[in-house]
Amino acid sequence: METVFTPWQSLGGGALIGVASVLLMASLGRIMGATGILAGLLYPANWSDWSWRAAVLAGMVSGPLAVSLLTGQMPAVQVPVSTPMLIIGGFIVGIGVTLGSGCTSGHGVCGMARLSPRSIAAVITFMITTGLTVFVLRHVIGG
């Protein structure tokens, strides 16, 4: 499934992701990591720790609606994989991000921005394995 190269939208969206990350650090002093935020929602320390995370999640989920109000269209979600793949992939992602203490937002954006050696190593690692996985699925097994 082809997708259109969108350098400006992607850059703009990325910049907003960055703005959100900076604002979270400025206001609450925390890393904008989806994995960590989710983990804290599932295993909260206390109400105060749970409530800000729930508010962030509520805001995140409001994003697509906000975009559709501004642009007239819901953001595209094109799923080129089967339901079993979504389930298997999702389960594996859950295991990986919990063991690895983060994902693309925590390690990829915030960790790299802090020049964290752990995050840089994590990002290089998952970029490699994602690339290999896609290659194997699309060009070795598939196609």
Partner: protein
């Protein structure tokens, strides 16, 4: 105040994710399909996000404290270990299979698409699985 700020921050993140294409598995997977239907857009997402955050963090972290909390909660570890690298490797495999990552999928729930809910349910199951495993391991060492 914390909750209003948190909601707005989540909203900005969610809008950014939606505009950038990170909520679109086809676009994400195509970034990694260098040998096939390559779409380099993801570089621009990461690039834009990291540059803005790098500059912003340098400014913000000069302050003694955050605005709404008593102190900054920054990770302090700098060592690499097996859970980090192994976990990252495994995350990549899952991301390459499904095309969604947590940061992309959570905002995508707002589109109402069933595929996102399926992914997130499985994501939660994976998170729970590791936590249950860790708890059992801890019990085993405690009684050993």
């Amino acid at each position: 105040m914390r909750l209003i700020a948190s909601y707005i921050i989540g909203l900005i993140f969610g809008i950014g994710i939606s505009i950038s294409g990170m909520a679109n598995p086809a676009k994400v997977l195509n970034f990694f399909d260098v040998a096939g239907t390559w779409d380099p857009s993801l570089i621009f997402v990461m690039g834009g996000a990291v540059v803005v955050t790098f500059i912003g963090y340098r400014l913000v972290l000069k302050r003694p404290t955050p605005v709404l909390e008593a102190k900054f909660q920054l990770p302090t570890r700098r060592d690499l270990d097996l859970p980090l690298i192994g976990g990252a490797a495994v995350f990549g495999i899952g991301w390459g299979i499904a095309g969604f990552c947590p940061g992309g999928a959570l905002p995508a729930l707002g589109t109402g698409r069933s595929e996102v809910f399926v992914f997130v349910a499985a994501l939660l199951a994976g998170i729970f699985a590791v936590n249950v495993f860790r708890r059992l391991q801890a019990q085993r060492s405690a009684t050993a």
